[in-house]
Amino acid sequence: MPYTIDINGVRRTVDVDGDMPLLWVLRDVLDLKGSKYGCGIGLCGACTVHLDGSPTRSCMLPISGIGLAKVVTIEGIGETPLGRRIQGAWLDIDVIQCGYCQAGQIMSAAALLARTPHPNDRDIDRAMAGTLCRCGTYPRIRAAIKKAAGLSIADTRTP
């Protein structure tokens, strides 16, 4: 059946089964392929989008459950000053290895900084622990978040 959802500020109508997860609507119906599939059950965070600003695993979110909530994806996050700043920090720090997890990382980081503009290491751990990076770019993800927050990027957890 048809569902109309607000994605990156644009209302889009799709005719799909109500149990189809948002991830697959985005990727295979709306051709927004930035959100990634990694596990399908909420364990990796590669599919993270914002639902009214909250980081949400789109692989677990049926299209019928979205209603009027506003969806923002990696394709739209650069529209906000914060999102742009985070993308810039990611480029400055050269975070990326394979890059497959990074949409999820950036969306998780954007949600963190929206709530906690000056996060400490524990805040970063808590907000980012759900988003796996198989390549191990964690030191640079941490640095890039701090950079986007205007903090010193030095890792001071262990002298």
Binding site: G34, D94, C133, R134
Partner: protein, 752 residues
């Protein structure tokens, strides 16, 4: 995803001076759009004859460089980008010698065409050693042609001209011409001899040695489609493929008729499959309008499997069989030096220890996938692969079409780690696409990916070591129980005759016994080394403690017994053998950087461990500082790394990233990963039971390089192996408990 049409070759020039194996053959052609294309055929360095044959049969040529009139330079990156940074690094080598400004460079991923580009694979940390010189020579030849063109126009000697940032200068007259203006003329000039073309003095490098960001970074942070999973082809359908959970099993019956009636499903059918476990195996394909519809239909799939002969195998069974084998002498000897039994009898102290490590999966974050289109006997493939050539060969063999009918577009790859050196998913996609007569994107679920991998083989080592009264290691023996069939050791399950500390201990025996195995095995990042470093570097730490020595001093003393590079037998490259001096160098550097001598000041429950390893031509020593809390939980506080990969760090930003990633990968494996076999199948199915390291577990990793006078070598792998024993040795230092089995069992570390 398709190659740009302007790559067409127009003229070709015969290479000069045939004979040597380390040559790059180069021909030039004018591009249709007026750009300069340098077409190089890079012979496989180990296989010059093949290259000669290729040239003799005048196979198509290929382009590495194109320069537009506005000076924008397009450089082809020939190898798959799996996160190791080659799509940036290989073009850096060309751009350096071409002498252009990096900001004017665009890079483009090559499709598979080995006749044009030479070998195109991502594995074994080989991109740097194999391409360091050939790619620079490609750039230098291009520069020489541009200079020659300018010199002709001005009527001056080429030697009177210089270049910088894409411009040729004639100092005497103050004239300049840009590459973009010169390119048409340059393309018509003879190609210089690549053997003699001048390379820059490294002190003049402006690109090599700079910390340059990855060329795809901007596309990635904005969510552009780059990966295999993102490929779309008009009219494409989506497929899932269910295989027998037991390796080597076959389909008996399947309810495909019922599946075909489900919503969104276009087709469902049994694929017979062949006997190669790393090729097309038997299973059931479901093809639907969306991947979600195919996956949903799969939940109702009922298959009776013929599970085959290995359905009784289990990890527990392997462990007890290994214990039994250990009671007997090894089935074969790999090496016997001196007289170990006599040396043990004379030793002041001896210890015995059994070490174990489990099967591991690759866990690429992008699950295996492939998009295929088959039309009129021609196969077009889009795939994340580390070995497009092997994949094309497999697809051709599976579909019984000539290899020349298989075109492979290499996408960006969401993690390789060795998994995509085998291309079973390509064969599956091609088969399914041919059957349905439409383009098909096959995507494995995470469960498919974990349960239909080939695995880092488990292994059992039964070790004995003896030290003299003065602390010298006098004897060491290992009975390695591993896997294989008959006399044939399973893939990546072997032990080399020169495994350290072989050749450094007078009385040493390596023996081996094999267990039969139905589970496919193969390379995982730093194959062999990722397991053997744990075993030998941990056991040497045990011996150091038995000898009453500082582990660092113990290692340095052991290495001090040999000075010359080993394995430098006639004909083999001396760089390929362990150079004890380089290993000592990184050990000393990491000790200095980590404050090794001050470790007695650490609080109770915190310890430091050290380990080193040589593999993939790289030398790494690492120190881990870890804290074990009373619950037994291990917290890795920090890791210090010292590496020696030769004279030049090509891209320091990527180099640090790779090393940090390798170290964190090793920590993740040690802390939690294992694949369990029960009833012939893999038990684990997702990241809950095979945990990848998460950010709160990732310590700071401080990376140092020791620059030495050796050709630069690769980084994807050699930084991984030492971190695992360094961590286990740190846990021993913190708790007095020795980790002899992976993953680390924290319940053993609990303090009452």
């Amino acid at each position: 995803m398709t190659a740009p049409g302007r790559k067409a070759a127009v003229t070709s020039v015969q290479p000069r001076g045939a004979g040597a194996s380390r040559r790059v053959f180069l021909t030039a052609s004018a591009a249709l759009g007026g750009g300069l294309l340098l077409h190089a055929v890079l012979p496989d360095l180990a296989c010059a004859e093949t290259a000669h044959r290729r040239l003799a049969t005048a196979r198509p040529l290929n382009a590495f460089i194109a320069i537009a009139p506005d000076g924008i330079v397009t450089i082809i990156a020939k190898n798959p980008e799996i996160g190791q940074g080659v799509k940036t690094m290989l073009p850096m080598l060309i751009a350096e010698e071409l002498d252009v400004d990096w900001k004017d460079v665009r890079t483009e991923q090559a499709d598979l065409d080995v006749a044009k580009y030479g070998r195109q694979f991502a594995g074994g940390s080989t991109a740097t050693p194999l391409n360091w010189e050939p790619m620079r020579r490609v750039g230098a030849a291009g520069r020489a042609m541009l200079v020659a063109a300018a010199a002709r126009i001005w009527g001056v000697a080429p030697s009177a001209c210089s270049t910088a940032a894409g411009i040729v200068h004639h100092a005497a007259s103050g004239r300049t011409l840009s590459y973009g203006v010169l390119v048409e003329k340059a393309a018509l000039l003879p190609v210089p001899n690549l053997e003699t073309v001048r390379l820059k003095d490294p002190k003049d490098f402006t690109i090599i040695g700079q910390p340059l960001p990855g060329v795809d970074n901007r596309s990635i942070v904005t969510g552009k489609p780059l990966f295999g999973i993102d490929v779309a082809s008009p009219g494409m359908l989506y497929a899932v493929f269910e295989k027998c959970p037991v390796f080597g099993g076959k389909v008996g019956r399947a309810n495909t008729d019922a599946i075909k009636r489900l919503s969104g499903v276009r087709d469902a059918f049994v694929v017979e499959g062949g006997n190669n476990p790393l090729g097309l195996v038997g299973g059931v394909a479901i093809v639907a309008d969306s991947w979600w519809a195919a996956s949903k239909a799969r939940k109702q799939l009922q298959v009776t499997w013929d599970e085959g002969p290995t359905a009784e195998q289990s990890s527990a069974g392997f462990a007890s069989a290994a214990q039994e084998l250990a009671k007997r002498p090894p089935a074969r000897w790999l090496r016997r030096d001196g007289d170990a039994a006599a040396a043990f009898a004379r030793a002041a102290r001896t210890i015995e220890a059994a070490y174990f490590y489990p099967f591991l999966a690759h866990l690429d974050l992008e699950p295996q996938n492939c998009t295929a289109r088959v039309r009129a006997g021609k196969v077009e493939i889009w795939a994340p692969t580390q070995d497009p050539e092997g994949g094309a060969r497999m697809v051709a063999a599976t579909l019984r079409v000539p290899e020349s009918n298989v075109l492979v577009h290499v996408t960006r790859v969401g993690g390789g780690f060795g998994r995509r050196l085998r291309n079973d998913y390509m064969a599956e996609a091609a088969w399914i696409a041919r059957q349905v007569g439409r383009p098909v994107k096959l995507l494995w679920s995470r469960q498919d990916d974990i349960q239909h991998d080939f695995y880092r083989p488990a292994g059992f080592h039964f070790l004995k070591g003896g030290v003299k009264g003065d602390g010298t290691l006098v004897a060491l023996t290992d009975h390695f129980v591993t896997f294989g069939h008959g006399d044939q050791v399973a893939a990546s399950a072997g032990l080399g005759q020169t495994e350290f500390p072989a050749q450094f201990v007078d009385n040493l025996e390596f023996g081996m016994s094999l267990l039969p195995l139905g589970v496919p095995t193969g390379p995982l990042r730093a194959p062999g080394a990722n397991a053997l470093a744990f075993v030998f570097q941990s056991f040497l730490d045990e011996l150091a403690h038995v000898a009453g020595k500082d582990p660092l001093a113990f290692h340095l003393a052991l290495l001090g017994r040999r000075r010359e590079p080993l394995n430098a037998s006639a004909g083999s490259n001396p760089e390929h053998g362990l150079d004890a001096g380089r290993l000592r160098g990184v050990l000393e550097l990491v000790a200095e950087k980590s404050g090794w001598t001050k470790r007695h000041l650490l609080p109770k429950g915190t310890g430091m461990g050290i380990a080193s390893y040589f593999c993939h031509l790289g030398y790494f020593a690492e120190v881990v500082r870890a804290t074990v809390v009373s619950s037994g939980t291990v917290k890795v506080d920090k890791v210090w790394v010292a590496g020696d990969i030769g004279s030049q760090i090509i891209n320091p930003s990527n180099a640090e990233n790779q090393v940090q990633g390798a170290v964190l990968d090793g920590i993740g494996e040690a802390l939690g990963q294992a694949i369990t076999i029960e009833r012939g199948r893999v038990v684990e199915a997702n990241f809950d039971t095979v945990p990848l390291l998460r950010i709160h577990q990732a310590p700071p990793v401080e990376v140092h390089f020791r620059i030495t006078e050796h050709p630069p070598t690769g980084l994807g792998e050699p930084a991984l192996p030492p971190v695992i024993p360094a961590l286990c040795n740190a846990i021993f230092a913190a708790t007095g408990k020795r980790i002899r089995s992976l993953p680390i069992d924290t319940t053993q570390l609990r303090r009452a």
